[in-house]
C-alpha cells in the first residue's frame, strides 16, 4: 500500500471511532426526546422503534397542564429557576471577592484557605444534610425556596471560588497598577478595571453554579415537603408509582429540564474546563 492510502485508512479509522463515541454519548439523550414524543403503544413495546412513527405532543402537554403531584411542570421549572438564579446571584458576589483575595494578594493563611476549599468539597452533602436540615428548620426556612437557596450557596461557593480565582489571576496586574498610578482608588480599580475583564469568567462560574443548583436533588428532597414548592429533580420522582412508571410523561418532563442545561453548557464549555483543571496545567 502506498503511504497515502495508509493515511486515508488511519483517518477513516479515527473518524469511525469518533462516530461510535458520538452515538454512545448522544443516543441516550436522543432516546429521551424520542420517547417523549411517542404515543404509548410505541413506548410500551418490545420492538425497537427508532423514532416516533406517529409523533404526539400528548406527553408534553399533559405534564404542562395536569403535571404531576398536583402541580403543572411549569410550577416546578419555576421553582428550580428561582433556586438556581438565587444561588447564582448571591454566590457570585461572595465568590468574586474571595477569588480576588486569593489570586491578587499574598497573605498568611492563603494556602490554608485553598486547602480548606478542597477539603470542604470532599465532605458528602448527605453528611451535612442532617445538621443543615435542623438548622433550616430552626430558622423557619423549612419548605421555603430561600432555605434551599442558602444551602445551595454554601455548597457551590467553594468550587466557584476555586474556579474563579484562575480567571482573576489571568488578568494582567499591570492594568490595575496603571489605574492606581492614574489616581484610581481601590474600589474604582476593582470595579472599572478588574471586574469587566473578569466578567466572562464570572459568567462561566455562575453558569456552573446555576447548573449545580438546578440539578440538585438531595437537599430539595429533604428541605421541601410542600408539593407546590418542589423543584424539578424532586418532581421527577413522582412519575413512578409502586406499580408502574409513566415513561412518556417522565421523558417529556426530563426533556424540559435538560434543554436549558444543554444550552448553557454549550455556551461556557471551553471556559469551564480551563477553570476546572486550572493550576494543574502550567502556562
Amino acid at each position: 500500500m502506498n503511504p497515502r492510502s495508509v493515511k486515508w485508512l488511519k483517518a477513516s479509522g479515527l473518524n469511525a471511532a469518533a462516530v461510535v463515541v458520538f452515538l454512545f454519548a448522544v443516543f441516550p439523550v436522543y432516546w429521551m426526546v424520542a420517547t417523549a414524543f411517542k404515543p404509548n403503544d410505541e413506548i410500551f413495546t418490545t420492538r425497537f422503534i427508532p423514532f416516533p412513527l406517529a409523533p404526539t405532543m400528548d406527553h408534553v402537554s399533559r405534564v404542562l397542564t395536569k403535571g404531576v403531584a398536583g402541580h403543572s411542570i411549569w410550577q416546578y421549572l419555576f421553582n428550580s429557576a428561582v433556586v438556581a438564579l438565587g444561588t447564582v446571584l448571591i454566590g457570585a458576589v461572595f465568590a468574586l471577592l474571595a477569588a480576588t483575595a486569593v489570586s491578587r494578594f499574598r497573605f498568611r493563611f492563603r494556602t490554608s484557605f485553598l486547602i480548606l476549599l478542597l477539603i470542604v468539597q470532599m465532605v458528602p452533602a448527605e453528611a451535612l444534610l442532617i445538621p443543615l436540615f435542623l438548622m433550616v428548620k430552626r430558622l423557619g426556612l423549612y419548605d421555603q425556596l430561600l432555605g434551599l437557596i442558602i444551602v445551595n450557596v454554601g455548597f457551590t461557593l467553594p468550587f466557584a471560588i476555586w474556579m474563579l480565582r484562575t480567571f482573576v489571576a489571568a488578568v494582567p496586574k499591570e492594568l490595575e497598577e496603571a489605574a492606581a498610578i492614574d489616581g484610581a482608588g481601590r474600589f474604582i480599580t476593582f470595579w472599572r478595571v478588574l471586574f469587566p475583564l473578569v466578567a466572562p469568567g464570572l459568567v462561566a462560574t455562575s453558569i456552573f453554579s446555576f447548573i449545580t443548583a438546578w440539578n440538585e436533588l438531595v437537599f430539595a428532597l429533604t428541605l421541601i415537603n410542600d408539593q407546590g414548592t418542589y423543584t424539578m429533580p424532586v418532581a421527577l420522582q413522582f412519575f413512578t408509582s409502586q406499580r408502574s412508571t409513566d415513561w412518556g410523561g417522565i421523558m417529556a418532563a426530563s426533556t424540559l429540564m435538560t434543554i436549558p442545561v444543554i444550552v448553557f453548557f454549550l455556551l461556557v464549555q471551553r471556559r469551564m474546563v480551563s477553570g476546572l483543571v486550572a493550576g494543574a496545567v502550567k502556562g
Partner: protein, 340 residues
C-alpha cells in the same frame, strides 16, 4: 439571560471603561484600609458562608455522631440529646449493612473511576487526532451526555435497561445465540430485570455514571494535550519512537498533573454518588443496594429518624475520602504554590 449579562459586561469592559476613567478622574483618596488587611476583608464574606454552612455543620455532624438524636431532638422544644460515646460507631461497624454498603461504595468507585479515566483519556487522545470538523462534531456530542442532569441521566438509563421495553434487552437479543451464551451464559434476554438485584443495579449505575462523566475527562485531557509543545512530538518522531513509547515518555509525564486533578475529582464525585443511585434503586427501600451515602441518608431521614447513627456513617465516609485524596491534594497545593 445569562448570555445577555455576558455581552453587556464584555462590551462595557472593552470600550467604555478606560474612556470613562479619563473623563472624570476620581481624586486619589487615601483608603482607610491598610494594604495588608485588604485580602482578609475580601475573604470575610465567603469565609463566613463556608463557616456557617459547611464547617459548623461539619462540627455538628461529628458531635451528633456521639449522641442519640431522634424525633425528640428535632421537634420544636427539643430535648437534649443523650451522649452515647462510641455507641453509634460500634453499632455501625457491627451492622451487616455496613459491610455491604462499604463494599458497594468502594467497588463502585474503583470500577467507575478507572473506566471513566480510561475512556475519557482515549476519547481525549482521539479528539486531538481528529480533523477540525470531526473534533467539533464529537465535542458537541459528548457535551450532550455531560450536560444531562444526574436525575435525568438515571431516569434515561433506567428506561434503556427496562425489562420489557428497554433497548438494551432488545439489543442483547440481537446477538447471535452462541456468542451470547458464551459471553453471558444466556441467549434470551426478554424480560431480564436489571433493576431488581443490587449487582445489576450497580452495572447500570456504573454505565450511567461513566456515560455522564467521561466527557469532562476527555475535554480536560484534550486541553492538556493542546498545551504540550508540538516540537517534542516531532523530535520523538525523528528518533523513531513508537506511539506507545511517545505516550509513555512524553504525553503521560507532561499530563501527570492534569491526571492527578482528574483522579481526585473523580474519586470525590464517585465515592459519594447519591442522586443516580437513589433513582436507579427506586428510593430507600432496596437495602442491599445501599452505598454509604444512601445508607446515611436513609437512617437519618426515614422513620424513625436516627440522625446520630446516620451522622456516624457520614463521618466514616468523609474520613475514608479524606485519607484517599490527601496525597493528591498535597500535590495540587504544591503546584498551586508554584503557579502564582
Amino acid at each position: 439571560m445569562m448570555a445577555q449579562t455576558s455581552t453587556v459586561a464584555r462590551g462595557g469592559g472593552n470600550s467604555s471603561a478606560p474612556a470613562r476613567r479619563r473623563s472624570h478622574r476620581p481624586p486619589r483618596r487615601p483608603s482607610g484600609l491598610p494594604n495588608w488587611a485588604v485580602p482578609y476583608v475580601l475573604l470575610v464574606p465567603g469565609l463566613l458562608v463556608i463557616a456557617i454552612l459547611l464547617l459548623y455543620p461539619l462540627y455538628q455532624m461529628v458531635d451528633m455522631s456521639f449522641h442519640k438524636v431522634g424525633l425528640r431532638q428535632i421537634r420544636p422544644n427539643p430535648q437534649p440529646a443523650e451522649f452515647l460515646g462510641m455507641q453509634n460507631y460500634s453499632d455501625v461497624f457491627s451492622s451487616d449493612l455496613f459491610w455491604t454498603s462499604l463494599r458497594n461504595t468502594v467497588v463502585f468507585a474503583v470500577v467507575t473511576v478507572a473506566l471513566t479515566l480510561i475512556l475519557g483519556t482515549l476519547v481525549g487522545l482521539l479528539l486531538n487526532k481528529l480533523g477540525r470538523k470531526m473534533s467539533t462534531f464529537l465535542v458537541v456530542g459528548i457535551m450532550a451526555a455531560w450536560a444531562t442532569p444526574p436525575t435525568a441521566t438515571a431516569i434515561i438509563w433506567k428506561w434503556l435497561f427496562d425489562s420489557d421495553a428497554g433497548v438494551v434487552n432488545w439489543a442483547l437479543n440481537l446477538l447471535p445465540d452462541g456468542l451470547s451464551t458464551l459471553v453471558f451464559g444466556r441467549s434470551d434476554w426478554s424480560g431480564q430485570p436489571w433493576l431488581n438485584a443490587p449487582s445489576t443495579i450497580y452495572v447500570v449505575l456504573v454505565i450511567a455514571v461513566v456515560w455522564a462523566s467521561f466527557p469532562f475527562i476527555a475535554v480536560s485531557v484534550l486541553a492538556g494535550l493542546k498545551s504540550i509543545p508540538s516540537e517534542l512530538y516531532e523530535a520523538a518522531r525523528v528518533d523513531g519512537s513508537t506511539p506507545a513509547a511517545t505516550f509513555r515518555k512524553i504525553t503521560f509525564p507532561l499530563l501527570k498533573p492534569v491526571f492527578s486533578v482528574l483522579l481526585v475529582l473523580s474519586i470525590i464525585w464517585d465515592f459519594k454518588v447519591f442522586t443516580q443511585l437513589y433513582v436507579l434503586a427506586g428510593g430507600t427501600t432496596n437495602r442491599e443496594a445501599f452505598n454509604l451515602s444512601l445508607w446515611a441518608y436513609t437512617e437519618a431521614f426515614s422513620a424513625p429518624p436516627k440522625m446520630g447513627f446516620g451522622a456516624a456513617i457520614a463521618v466514616i465516609l468523609t474520613v475514608i475520602m479524606l485519607v484517599i485524596t490527601a496525597v493528591y491534594v498535597r500535590q495540587i497545593v504544591r503546584t498551586e504554590a508554584d503557579v502564582r
